[in-house]
Amino acid sequence: MAAVVESRPIGDVVLKADEVTVTFGAVKALTGVSFDVKEREILAIIGPNGAGKTTMLNVINGFYHPDTGSITFKGQTRKRMRPHVAAAQGIARTFQNVALFKGMSTLDNIMTGRNLKMSRWATNVISSAIYYGPTQKEEIAHRERAEHVIDFLEIQSIRKTPVGRLPYGLQKRVELGRALAAEPDLLLLDEPMAGMNLEEKQDMCRFVLEVNDEFGTTITLIEHDMGVVMDISDRVVVLDYGKKIAEGTPDEIKTNQTVIDAYLGVAHE
């Protein structure tokens, strides 16, 4: 995979994690983790299993509340926040174990991503029951946006398939579509390449880079495939046992001894 040319201007800090600590009973999931995410950059969070990476994303999402520390997003600092508020502020997410709505089709799943963009007035229960009128107009308008996402991700042929029947790689792609449909400012990806073969990974990388390039979306991703991390990320944060042990560009991280030790000498090229 070719190296990315630095052509997009990376902006100021849009997300700041400040001394975030999360404990579950006696388990210290995160201890005093601080890092920044700059606008329009691709930041990778890596670390051995159990390092607390998913927990960190969950905190950014508002699903877990930090015991101490805070998250500042777009200038607003908060400690406790309900997840749907975080979503309303422009944070979208994919999950480690695909969290699609298995009972619905691909199209419907992506349409759920449009949820926050839909006018609440036009889709209230009475209008919806009548359907013809404001609700139908909303549906059609947002269906168009959803179709753009479907075209972008090249999943037109599986539009109406119930997602439970799709192969794993396609499910992950649909999940990305659902996150993209929300037109987020910050996209959190939890192991988006997990379980994919080389071709699927190439496609996925292409999509991630295009999202960042075309829409200027800031991306934070957790990933285990070092090749992917080195190639597409601008900066890397390394966690181990809930603590941040390194931060820097991919080249710096590649040669950082602490990081290498943490992985016990495993480094992909």
Binding site: F24, T54, N58, F63, F95, Q96, A99
Partner: protein, 322 residues
């Protein structure tokens, strides 16, 4: 103003007025509570081992009691106009126990095995199906009229410190106590008990470490069946063997919510609290609203509990992961 005093003041004055009566009500409530606990135990067992709420547990108790009466009086199943010689209570109880174990085999083979790893709600609904089937079969085998059950538990009452105590209730408490202790030991100390807890957590994981799922399920449902038999004997002796026995299942739900679905001591404590709560509410607050508060008091109490402590007094806290 009157209404407020009637609700918040008068009943407590009544209690203070005649403490002996109050304690009698409490004791009565405790005894009912013990009976609830007996039924709740069966639920806890199955839930602990398979995370399934067995709606049919009440019908199990009813079926066990019906079978017992049928064996003791020499009724021929399905052909109610003929008769066989009856048999003594002890023999009948053992035979009924065997029947319940057979029932466990049947349930495992026909219902549980095809439903491995299904959603818990789906399994719960299948137990509703089992309840209906067993109800129908029981009625067809033994007839749906009310029956009298007498296995020789001593009755009568005596006075202790101005309060009337029923001998039967004392026996019920003792039997429940023995049952609880043996079950608690079984779960904590034995290898089978550990295996049971593993199965409750994750069917597939348990299978993958070599725990024989089928055997475990048969064991659990058999034990639950025996517990149902005991509960059936106690309730049946007290109020006759009839359809309403199966509705006791519904009454056990609030008990489990209070005590926690996976806790044996919780089933006891929950049962006692519900029993006392119901009785006291009925006696002291019931007259204000025409009575029969008992019908819903337990549920509303459980509801309040659910809002503040969903895992019950002794249950395990539920942590969600993404």
């Amino acid at each position: 103003m009157d209404v407020l005093t009637a609700i918040f003041v008068a009943p407590f004055l009544d209690m203070a007025d005649s403490p002996a009566f109050f304690f009698e009500v409490v004791i009565g409530g405790l005894m009912t509570g013990v009976m609830y606990s007996l039924v709740a135990l069966g639920f806890v067992l199955i839930f602990k081992a398979s995370s399934v709420f067995n709606f049919a547990q009440g019908v199990f108790a009813l079926f066990a009691a019906m079978t017992l009466v049928g064996l003791m009086t020499g009724t021929v199943p399905f052909a109610l106009d003929k008769a066989l010689p009856g048999m003594p209570a002890f023999v009948a109880i053992v035979l009924t126990g065997v029947v319940m174990v057979g029932l466990a085999f049947l349930v495992e083979r026909v219902v549980l095995r095809p439903m491995v790893n299904q959603d818990h709600i789906i399994m719960f609904m299948s137990t509703i199906g089992i309840a209906f089937v067993l109800e129908g079969v029981g009625d067809m085998m033994w007839g749906s009229d009310v029956k009298v059950l007498d296995v020789g538990i001593p009755t009568g009452s005596f006075f202790f410190l101005d309060m009337m105590i029923q001998v039967f209730d004392l026996w019920a408490a003792a039997i429940a106590g023995v049952l609880v202790i043996s079950l608690a030991v079984f779960f904590q100390k034995t290898r089978t008990g550990r295996a049971l807890r593993a199965v409750a957590d994750d069917h597939q994981a348990a299978l993958s470490v070599g725990i024989p799922l089928k055997t475990i399920w048969v064991i659990v449902w058999s034990v639950a069946g025996i517990v149902a038999l005991v509960a059936g004997i106690m309730w049946g002796s007290k109020s006759g063997v009839q359809f309403s026995l199966s509705l006791i299942a519904l009454r056990a739900l609030p008990v489990l919510i209070l005590g926690g679905f996976t806790s044996v001591p919780g089933a006891i404590v929950g049962g006692l609290i519900i029993g006392v709560g119901e009785k006291v509410a009925e006696v002291y607050w019931g007259p204000l609203v025409n009575g029969a508060i008992e019908n819903w008091f337990a549920y509303v109490l459980a509801l309040v509990f659910l809002l503040f402590r969903p895992q019950g007094l002794f249950g395990e806290k539920i942590i969600e992961r993404v």
